[in-house]
Amino acid sequence: MTETTQANNNRGRSIDIVNASLKRRYARERRFRYLGLSAVILGLLFVGTLFVDIISKGYSAFVQTHIVLDVYFDPEVIDPDGTADPAVIARADFRQIARQPLRELFPEVSGRRDKRALYKILSSGAPYQLLDMVQADPSLIGTRQTVELIADDDIDMLAKGHIDRTAPPADRRVNDKVIGWVDKLESQGLIRKNFNTAFFTNGDSREPELAGIGGAVAGSFYTLLVTLSLSFPIGVAAAIYLEEFAPKNRWTDIIEVNINNLAAVPSIVFGLLGLAMFINLFGLPRSAPLVGGLVLTLMTLPTIIIASRAALKSVPPSIREAALGVGASRMQTVFHHVLPLAMPGMLTGTIIGMAQALGETAPLLMIGMVAFIVDVPGGPLDPSTVLPVQVFLWADSPERAFVERTSAAIMVLLAFLVAMNAIAVIMRRRFERRW
């Protein structure tokens, strides 16, 4: 007894020890707290950086530079014999028609190289624009019209200020002469930036100014249609069986573990499955949204099954007991009473699964949806690509204008995803019931 008091006296009272260390401990507390706060801020900063980077690169793709020209639809060139035959018109040399007003504006340009450079400020799609106008309204032939023609992607970049005019000419995509012409056009008010509708309707193209996401959006639509029409019924049915009917035994245990594991299998492995099974074994067409939809179905099924089971679990047993009590069969209980109550949760899970499928790229690369496809697909068996794959394809292209378009495509993709997730959140808030 005396020994311990002795020891205590030697070391001082415990409160002194505590007090002495208190300052240090509080400092540590503060440090830990700031560390946590800075982790949260860092995370938020990453989100901010990502979005700011994408938006700042991509917002300018939503306008497209056009050059306003007085085009003379010369009957000598378009339809010399006055046949008004669409086939003759389609074969006419509209490049000449498009170039004529440029020659009139810059009569001083001579020499083959300079002329070629001058003509290149118009997109190679500009003649087709004129052709479309004439095909829509043949009475234009022989008249003079003010037309906004698509500018080349380099001119587009120059007009949007993405090309550094002070850089040495060798590092620039446009030389001083072209800059002079564009400045002259600009001073006459002939350069106009309009909303870029072609970006939303066109298919892919090698020319950035003509490339659009129309084909990719249609491909994504068909792919998701296949995915949704297969994965929702199958996922809900599987969830109903596992949650309501399956006996609890080893076999159902295996299915359950299996579903949880499938949810974490890398998506690219599903692509290998699609390639080996659907394409090589069953001979389904490559690059088709049907195959993409099948692969994504297998990929999203676990998500939907897990969400649907959670929704079924949240329906209280009293509902089931009441239904069984008034003489409903088990099947009637589930389909008439439990399923309607669980439906909002199941739909929420399905939307989240669809959002996942919409953003998925890797498995679709395996089944050949990376092809360069100009046409907008018209059905689930046509070759097509999807929005994220289009982003991947464009990201590889060296032109500055494609960087802009890639970012814009990403913005469209993110807008779809945000909308889908917002619907899921709203549905959850609106229909969630606490029992």
Partner: protein, 462 residues
């Protein structure tokens, strides 16, 4: 007839069958008044007829869609002249590809001769016969089975029980699809891997230090050694995943701790969903960000301090991948931290511990198994991630631990080997499946361990 039209017609037939079945059940008992003497509700007789009308026909149509291609193909091959039939499979495949293109009016690679034209015509003919036959078969089966079911309807028939048996077997089949998917993955990957290991020994693949999957066509070809050693790929994958975890684990864990134990309800309810946005962003977007923004930035910084940085450095890919998996780590850690009972915390506070001491010495040790499980899941995510590395990491298989160097990963190689033209008997293509098998096995192992840990840990405090 178009397949989609056929499906719609079939749906129409089902609706009609429902209506007729329902009517007949009422008719057998003398209208609505007699409905009480029916065994089941009238609509069950309708469902019974409709299911019989639709299911067998849909099954036939589905089987046809899956096997149409290969059946018609083999019939066309049978129709070819014998000297063409004897060609090696690869050339025959090319020939058939041309025939296919010719039949659908596309551009053909070589010259079109008479036999090819004949084969293409044959193909088109078979296709049109096939689709007509399918339409007739499907519709007659639908009508036949529906009328059989319709005739069986009577007041004594236990329609509800029969419908329920059909529906419950459909439910069982749906839940088996998950199993079938796994079996399909394993079989398809295993089968091609076996063919690969017949060409390249397993030990060379697993322990080889050299990866250059170019198979020499001639003996004297340069740069086509055909080495299939997977070690550099795994080293690259591990390097990038390690960098990713180095970013994601501290940030994710600390933000989960802060949001669970320190933050006010307002910050918590706002910051959590914003952080979870990171999990919803498509990986191709991260890839774009890594390749076009972060990699040049890292390169610029590196060069300004005199380091030579590859433009496809492992660092850029790893950092961005780390950002991607932050929400996985943080939401899983959040779950387990919240699952630690309040009584443990209260006990620590009662002893005079500060908040951070409670967290570090009580909460974290208690939550450690769950957190480890979460980290393992995140690691398996990182190993299997494809798009970020395809876009931001390189192709050259360097065996290095320098994060500023360019490395390649398993998933990158699978993509580069399988995108574009393939021949299915070369070691080059089959190697992708062997890599896929390894990837599947490794991630499956990680997942099983992680899910087991998480599950076990949850039980502990429940």
């Amino acid at each position: 007839m178009q397949l989609s039209v056929l499906v719609f017609v079939l749906l129409g037939v089902m609706a009609l069958a429902y209506h007729l079945g329902r009517r007949r059940s009422l008719a057998t008992v003398g209208g609505r008044v007699g409905a009480r003497s029916l065994h089941s509700l009238p609509s069950y007789y309708g469902f019974y007829t409709a299911l019989w009308a639709g299911l067998p026909a849909l099954l036939i149509a589905g089987l046809w869609v899956f096997f149409e291609g290969s059946i018609i193909n083999s019939m066309v091959v049978q129709g070819l002249p014998s000297e063409l039939r004897e060609l090696p499979p690869a050339q025959l495949g090319l020939l058939m590809n041309d025939v296919n293109n010719l039949a659908s009016g596309n551009i053909v690679s070589g010259e079109v001769d008479a036999t090819m034209q004949r084969a293409a015509d044959h193909l088109n003919e078979l296709r049109s016969i096939g689709s007509t036959a399918l339409a007739i078969a499907v519709l007659s089966i639908a009508l036949g089975t529906a009328s059989l079911a319709w005739r069986a309807i009577g007041p004594k028939m236990r329609a509800r029980n029969r419908v329920e048996v059909i529906v419950s077997s459909l439910l069982v089949v749906s839940s088996l699809i998950a199993i079938l998917t796994t079996v399909g993955i394993v079989l398809s990957v295993l089968f091609e891997s076996f063919r690969f290991f017949q060409k390249v020994p397993v030990t060379d693949f697993l322990f080889g230090l050299e990866w250059s999957p170019q198979v020499a066509l001639r003996a004297d070809q340069v740069g086509a050694s055909g080495a299939f050693g997977a070690i550099p790929l795994f080293a690259g994958t591990l390097l990038i995943s390690f960098i990713a975890l180095l970013v994601a684990v501290p940030v994710g864990l600390m933000s989960a701790i802060y949001l669970a134990d320190y933050a006010g309800p307002k910050l918590r309810s706002n910051a959590k969903p914003v952080l979870e946005v990171l999990a919803g962003v498509p990986t191709v977007v991260y890839g774009f960000f890594a390749a076009l923004t972060l990699a040049p930035a890292i390169r610029g910084v590196g060069e300004s301090v005199g380091l030579s940085v590859s433009s496809e450095s492992a660092l850029a890919a790893g950092l961005v991948m780390g950002i991607m998996i932050i929400p996985f780590v943080s939401s899983l850690s959040d779950d387990v931290i919240n699952a630690v009972p309040q009584s443990l915390r209260d006990a620590a506070y009662a002893l005079g511990a500060t908040r951070s001491e409670t967290i570090r010495q009580v909460v974290l040790p208690a939550a450690l198994p769950g957190i480890m499980g979460g980290i393992l899941l995140a690691a398996s995510r990182a190993i299997g991630e494809t798009m970020i590395v395809v876009m931001a990491a390189g192709l050259s298989a360097n065996l290095t631990a320098n994060p500023l160097d360019s490395v390649t990963t398993v998933t990158v190689q699978i993509v580069t080997l399988l995108v574009g033209d393939q021949e299915f008997d070369s070691a080059k293509t089959l190697a992708a499946f062997a890599l896929g098998l390894l990837l599947f096995v490794v991630t499956l192992g990680l997942n099983i361990v992680a899910l087991h840990i998480v599950r076990k840990y949850r039980e502990q405090y429940e």
